[in-house]
Amino acid sequence: MSTITPEVVAAHSLTPDEYQKILALLGREPSLTELGIFSVMWSEHCSYKSSKVHLKKLPTRSQLVLLGPGENAGIIDIGHGYGIAFKIESHNHPSFIEPFEGAATGVGGILRDIFTMGARPIAVLDSIRFGPLDDPKTGARNRRILEGVVSGIAHYGNCFGVPTVGGECVFHKSYDGNPLVNVFALGVIPKDKIFFGRAEGIGNPVIYVGAKTGRDGIHGATMASDEFTEESKQKRPNVQMGDPFLEKLLLEACLEAMYTGAVVGIQDMGAAGLTCSTCEMGSRAGTGVEIDLQYVPQRETGMSPYEIMLSESQERMLLVADKGREQEIFDVFNKWGLDSATIGFVTDDGMLRVRDHGAIVAEIRNRDLADEAPIYDRPHTRPHRNVPMEAPAFASADLKADLIRLLASGDLCSKRWIYEQYDYMVRTNTLAGPGGDAAVVRVKETGTSVAMSLDGNGRYCYLDPREGAKLVVAEACRNVSTVGALPVAATNNLNFGNPQRPEIMAQLVEAIEGMAEACLHFETPITGGNVSLYNETLGEGILPTPVIGIVGLLPTQAPVPSRFRAAGRTVMLLGGVGATDEVHFGGTQYAHVLLGQMWGLPPALDMALEKRVQAAIREMVAAGVVDSAHDLSDGGFAVGLAEASFDGVGAAVTLPASALRPELLLFHEGPSRILLSTNSPEEVTKLADKHGVPAVAIGATVHGQVVIEGYLNATVEELHQPWANALESALHA
């Protein structure tokens, strides 16, 4: 009797059609181990089966792109013989089930993706989203998840020795049962020493290195591709356990092994572990891989082939070495006290052949696993949306009180409580750490710097996925430009609900198309990324949340700061006061925090103007004519002005006459605007004119005060205190 019943197939999250395809590819019934192997490789997480047809729309090339999507990380040329490898990846589902380990292994996974290429990681950023901390029902759980996630990121990054230099932390009730944990990492690599995950060279040994294999994380990739239900807590054993110390040793040993010249190809064992690394390395090289599980280092006894192949134990790598030079590799791993063992060899038949003490337990064509996963063009209708277009009646009674409430709100308040738990300075490269518009790290090897910004906005994308995605790209590029860097490349993390619902699939499709258009326009090709679907709990999906990571290059080492530095400087608004109306105000922080509502559309974006504003600020920074520059986004002008004042130097400004209502004028989130201070207003005007963008002088910096003539008058201290203390008080309420 067959062991593969329809129930067993369903338990592996495979559809009956998918099972039929497996039967056709194999020409026979799979063994249970083979079924497990197919189920992880064909999971949404590994195969991108619902998103692949749309991901092809993203731009992936430019003159600077050395390596686009398809490998472990993309690589950009930064000149002087060096490149940077970077990518973002999600660990949403594990972080809900087990926040500390889930987030920690998220950091570990993305770091391995970077050093697998041969790059030494020099920066991590994270984009994290939670349900509200003050919700009477779920607040306590959300606080526990946040504390766990932050400790997990800190634990892993700090011990590994990579600085966590920035990111974002956002709250919305749709993330209540679905926190988002997206981690970005970037590393430096000599251009002539890039390694690939390819099993080249028939007869070459396949070597397993790093931690021993245990039973943890089995079916993690499949879990990451399911919705959450009441039973999800039982999936806790599916969450992997991380050891940053082992990963640090693995980093040093891998880089040293690569340096010997004996490494032919290398790939980390992340999602789907040994299964994914063997068949992908074989598939990319067009070769076969044969291994025998008896040689796999194991930390538990009695593990079945199924368990060994599907384990997601952390801190492991698979490499292919030059035949005859194995000992050089063993020597390096011995030096660092790590296991290394030859577990098989490269063959010419294109098969993944798994033996256990000689007996074949799985035999599948590599390409059937890696490239023949079903691809779905899932039906998509109109994006899900359940809010009105028209604005409700609202009026502000006290603009200063409103500003203070905004500054103390979850998304806008100081994240110091979080980032001081991260070692953001290790490696002594951090020129602009957490809290600014973009993080900047220097590259010691080249004498230049790299700026990075992560950005997402679920509310904008809910109101209009296409425009929202464009705004997200525009803002991340503006963040990078504001410190003086040229945006050159991107990586994206697409966090969405259940793609089998046509109105959710529509969100995904429109967001990808919007992102594609914007990335093409801003010349930031996407060199890799991650898709996280099924972010739903009990049928409730998250706001559509595409997160973009933009990387920019700074020809020098010193970025411009975001805060005012000295009194008596001219304050200018590059891009002008911007335009809005009530419909385009419905996605703002004002609507969210003060009115608790969402309506209408996200702010209108003029991509041509945006590009000119960014070019102008970059030229101003390069010419040294600005003292400080801060991009206006969440919370609008008033929030931006307050943030720029938090080193003690504020400003007294008069906005040009406007037909806009005060609430709209002060708090609208129209893009393409940068608040700057300067000693050379004429030079700023000249450069703004050159780029065809307005630059309005609105006042001067002053000590200790924030004054918007006719609207509000506050001391810096009055604004700073609530902003600085909000998160800590919310956590310890």
């Binding site: 011990c159 020795g161 940053p244 110390f245 640090k248 001081e420 738990q421 290790v426 490696r427 002594t428």
Partner: protein, 223 residues
């Protein structure tokens, strides 16, 4: 001056110390592997860098003290050689008995990373000879276990013998008597939780850490 920067498995500020010494101070440096049982003859200063030696398993620095290099460092120090331990290096020095006391979990129970103000409490050490007593240095901390603790009589003795080298202006971790750094009775071994190697480059926002290295240079030049 040639500094030997010890590399334990899990050290992660080793490159930073090497960079500060060679690029910011303009001296020489070499890495010393933890399995080495002797300090090479051309090394003037041994630096135990920050990080998580041996994963900080058991207790911070508890396993590092058994490594061959620590035996060599003890001999080096006994012969008057200059030894500096920053962060995890300080923890290793207390664990190996080269300095008194212990470093335990911060009272806030969280890892903390930010610049702090330190007050120079004595200039009677080779590490602070060019500083001024009472001078304030802005140098970052980054640790979860930096709360210095010792028996009251040990603390009294440290004070009586002028061995408290740095105090925090605002105590970030609960350290007894605001202690941020101490030296041994021979005054040639320094342990401190803050990271002077992170305050050695103008681009990093502070160069206040350089005074330690420059003091060493002048003391060594006078030998």
């Amino acid at each position: 001056m040639k500094a030997g920067v010890v590399v334990f498995p899990g050290s992660n500020c080793d490159h930073d110390a090497y960079y500060a010494v060679t690029q910011n101070v303009g001296a020489q440096a070499a890495f010393l592997w933890h399995q080495q049982a002797a300090i090479p003859g051309d090394i003037d200063v041994v630096i135990l860098p920050g990080g998580f030696s041996y994963g900080d398993y058991l207790r911070c620095g508890a396993i590092a003290k058994f490594s061959p290099i620590i035996g060599a460092v003890k001999q080096f120090a006994a012969a008057g050689g200059i030894v500096m331990g920053f962060c995890n290096g300080f923890q290793i020095l207390t664990e190996s008995g080269l300095l008194p006391g212990a470093l335990i979990r911060n009272t806030g129970l969280k890892f903390r990373c930010h610049p702090v103000d330190l007050r120079v409490e004595t200039t009677q050490t080779p590490f602070t000879s060019l500083a001024e007593k009472g001078q304030i240095l802005n140098i970052p901390i980054a640790h979860g276990e930096g709360c210095y603790t010792a028996e009251p009589h040990v603390l009294d003795q440290l004070e009586a013998e002028d061995r408290i080298v740095f105090r925090y202006v605002r105590n970030p971790n609960g350290s007894a008597r605001d202690i941020a750094g101490i030296c041994n009775a021979g005054r040639n071994v320094l342990g401190m939780m803050p990271h002077p190697e992170r305050a050695a480059d103008p681009l990093m926002g502070s160069t206040d850490g350089l005074v330690l290295f420059r003091s060493l240079l002048s003391v060594l030049a006078a030998k």
